[in-house]
Symmetry: C2
Subunit: 210 residues, 2 copies
């Protein structure tokens, strides 16, 4: 990983996505300029936080003018890498995998699901959400052919580490893990866990203690 990454706190990078969502919304509304204060207020953040986060990446605002929405959207996409299309593969076409294949939100943000993989004869050969489901033995060839760097793991716990290892061996460097287990990754790869039911659990914890 480039040492430049080390100096930028992960929460700041996380907030870039939040800023981008808000700026895209403003752009769609025809808004051309926004102050850091107004942007911060709409996101319930401190003015100084917004300015500090963006300052990690450059000098975007102008005193008395604020941020130009369109150019800042482009700049944030460039920083986050979504100014281009990323081919993505998904492994596991069970209940959750199928839901993700049918979800169009990834494509809208520049992530193109090029193929899904499974081992079950019941599903291999089918097309779900417009995405072909292939046998997992074809994974290395597909990843190589499309230069895939991002993968989604949606297999059961028992298979998740093997799948993560296979993805990394094939060249995938970023893994979004929906399996309810902690994946060990090589130093040069990133794993982000997503556990939808655990998000509800966090809410039931808070609400249950009221």
């Amino acid at each position: 990983m480039n040492p430049r990454n080390q100096s930028i706190p992960s929460p700041a990078v996380r907030r870039l996505s939040v800023y981008l969502r808000r700026l895209e919304y403003l752009a769609a509304q025809g808004v051309e300029k926004v102050s850091s204060r107004s942007l911060a207020e709409s996101l319930r953040l401190a003015d100084a936080q917004v300015r500090k986060d963006l300052a990690y990446f450059g000098q975007f605002g102008r005193p008395g003018v604020g941020y130009l929405v369109g150019p800042l959207v482009e700049e944030l996409r460039r920083i986050l890498g979504t100014d281009k299309i990323w081919p993505v593969v998904l492994v596991g076409s069970g209940d959750l995998g199928r839901a993700l294949l049918r979800y169009k939100g990834f494509r809208r943000r520049g992530f193109d699901l090029v193929a899904a993989f499974d081992v079950s004869p019941a599903v291999v050969g089918r097309t779900i959400g417009g995405v072909p489901v292939l046998h997992v033995r074809q994974l290395p060839a597909v990843v190589a052919k499309h230069g895939v760097k991002l993968g989604i793991v949606a297999v059961p716990t028992d298979a998740a580490q093997d799948v993560a290892d296979m993805l990394q061996a094939a060249g995938v460097r970023g893994i979004l893990n929906f399996a309810p287990t902690v994946l060990h990754a090589a130093a040069e790869a990133s794993v982000r866990p997503v556990d939808l039911a655990a998000e509800l659990e966090q809410l039931s914890f808070r609400v249950g203690r009221e």
Copy 2:
């Protein structure tokens, strides 16, 4: 909110879900006891972190024995509130909403989707993933009838705040927000944002800077 909540750091509560997943997995494998060290290693956490997190909630481990898996699973479920079934409503049956309705992972963890709501005549009256889709005007009555405290927002950005307000007015106290916008909630309510595409964006940021 109970002041007890204030003293427990959110990351510790977040990790409870991670511990619970791992312990449920071990229980399914027939494992009866686990040391804090072994639990920590499998989750890539520090031994002391695991012990400290669990100590917020009680004295669970025994010197020389470790944790008893079954009882600790029960205890963590009780703490997180998932020792009982939570009725949940979902608003918005677009692409993402439908995917969530078809996802069975919520129910497996104690969250029962009792109804979905929409305004589109094309979808109101249908059943998706076994869940009836009702007109949003029925939301207050359904929330009251089932004593619903948790809601999922899967509507477009423009409608999200109105839906959150409606849920809270009806008595919902915890909201899982899939709309790509920041929701403002009353002090007694909790909102957790989930942005699946933003998770991929965080990976494309890391991978793009390698």
